[in-house]
């Protein structure tokens, strides 16, 4: 039954993609010089289409991509598929305005699609408000579906009479217990920790699963979601709000009027502690972003070696190094999820700590 369902799901996916895939051709750029920086940035950045595979047919480079919906708010709401841009080669006219997809961003242009630059080679064209379902958003929804499936199917087993863990349950149960005992109970007062456990568990599994999805080099993964500053910003902001909204009187007292020190030092400390309120989530944001993005850049750079050196002899060395980096990144994926959760628990623990020490 399980296999039949999987088969049907795959066939439906195949049918959908067959119809909506736009196999576009790009002639005459097969001799183009390989630019590793451009390739890496393309993989790191967010985009309006989900690239599946590129292949060479009769000397022509073909790309198979899944188009994603573009949602623009610019004198009204415009919704269309990103395939209308034909990978940036064509303009889209909505109302009186022309839109052009240029290096992953949508700009307003004139009828001939002119992109203007200033002295620093920055694009000066204005941009509409872009609420598109980009690759990162689609990838996030996929991960949310995956997480909900994983945990609801594990949670179902706890409804009946207690029994030995089975299947997916025996995978998630030790992880949940690890987050509860070694992160939440270790950092937060035990009788207060249960209130924050759902948040910490969500944080840990969301970051970890998205880190792992980002490491999958082909279609369902491959988007650099946890290396996107918007996502890490929101995660850090949630930690910031949870920490400060649950802060006790003594927590705020220790920030603005540190007990037990002379008054001039109290004033100085209150400034430092107030800045500290914001630097803590800022460090959380930058740490996750930098670690994941750096890992992606290193892996892609090692792959680029083959094409920069233009030699097949370098390939075994490059592949071995990439394999090594992938192993390290598997560790980093869980380590960063752990550190983010641990530090969140630590901040919350400081905020809700009781008076008696």
């Amino acid at each position: 039954m399980q296999h039949i369902r999987l088969f049907i799901a795959l066939s439906v996916l195949w049918a959908i993609t067959q119809n909506s895939f736009a196999a576009d051709t790009h002639g005459d750029d097969s001799e183009k010089e390989f630019d590793p920086m451009e390739m890496i940035m393309h993989h790191i950045a967010d985009s309006h289409e989900w690239h599946v595979v590129s292949y060479n047919s009769n000397g022509e480079e073909k790309h198979i991509t899944i188009p994603l919906p573009v949602i623009l708010i610019d004198n009204g709401l415009h919704v269309f598929m990103s395939s209308a841009f034909h990978h940036g080669e064509e303009l889209v006219k909505k109302g009186d305005t022309y839109y052009k997809l240029y290096h992953g961003k949508i700009y307003r242009t004139d009828a001939s699609g002119t992109i203007a630059y200033d002295d620093n080679h920055e694009v000066t064209n204005s941009k509409p408000l872009d609420f598109s379902i980009t690759r990162n958003v689609a990838s996030m929804w996929l991960s949310i579906i995956l997480i909900i499936w994983l945990f609801t199917s594990a949670a179902k087993r706890y409804r009946g009479p207690p029994s030995a863990p089975k299947g997916v349950q025996s995978f998630v149960e030790p992880l949940i217990l690890f987050v509860r005992d070694d992160i939440a109970y270790a950092q937060i007062d035990k009788h207060k920790a249960d209130r924050f456990l759902p948040f910490l568990l969500t944080l840990f599994f969301f970051i970890w699963i998205n880190n792992l999805l980002g490491l999958i080099p082909f279609f369902p993964g491959g988007s650099n979601l946890t290396g996107n500053i918007s996502l890490t910003l929101v995660l850090a902001l949630i930690t910031f709000f949870v920490t400060n909204f649950s802060g006790t009187k003594s927590y705020w007292g220790h920030i603005f009027w540190m007990p037990g020190v002379p008054v001039p030092i109290r004033l100085l400390l209150s400034v430092i502690e107030f800045i500290g309120l914001f630097t803590k989530p800022f460090a959380l944001m930058i740490r996750l972003l930098a670690n994941i993005t750096a890992g992606h850049i290193i892996i892609l750079s090692l792959f680029s070696l083959i094409f920069v050196m233009k030699s097949i002899a370098i390939a075994p060395v490059s592949v071995l190094m990439v394999l090594m980096m992938f192993m390290l990144e598997l560790l980093v994926a869980v380590l960063q999820a752990y550190i983010f959760t641990l530090l969140s628990a630590l901040f919350i623990g400081m905020a809700v700590a009781s008076e008696e020490h």
Partner: protein, 69 residues
């Protein structure tokens, strides 16, 4: 690539400092674990927190260096 800029040297200094700091933490933590193996899990947590704080400072510097450079 415009050769060796001040940003590059600065990034090198940041990494050296952070690596030295985290290395010292790991060294002390391992010595402590060797002396007191029964509380090694507590030491490990404290080690990771201290390393993460140093890493945070290094990341600030890297972000500033990249924005300036």
């Amino acid at each position: 690539m415009e050769g060796l800029s001040l940003t590059t040297i600065g990034l090198g200094l940041i990494i050296s400092g952070a690596a030295y700091g985290i290395g010292r933490i790991a060294q002390s933590a391992m010595e402590a674990m060797g002396r007191q193996p029964e509380i090694s899990s507590k030491i490990q947590t404290a080690m990771i927190i201290a390393a993460a704080l140093i890493e945070g400072a290094a990341l600030f510097a890297i972000v500033v260096a990249l924005m300036k450079g």
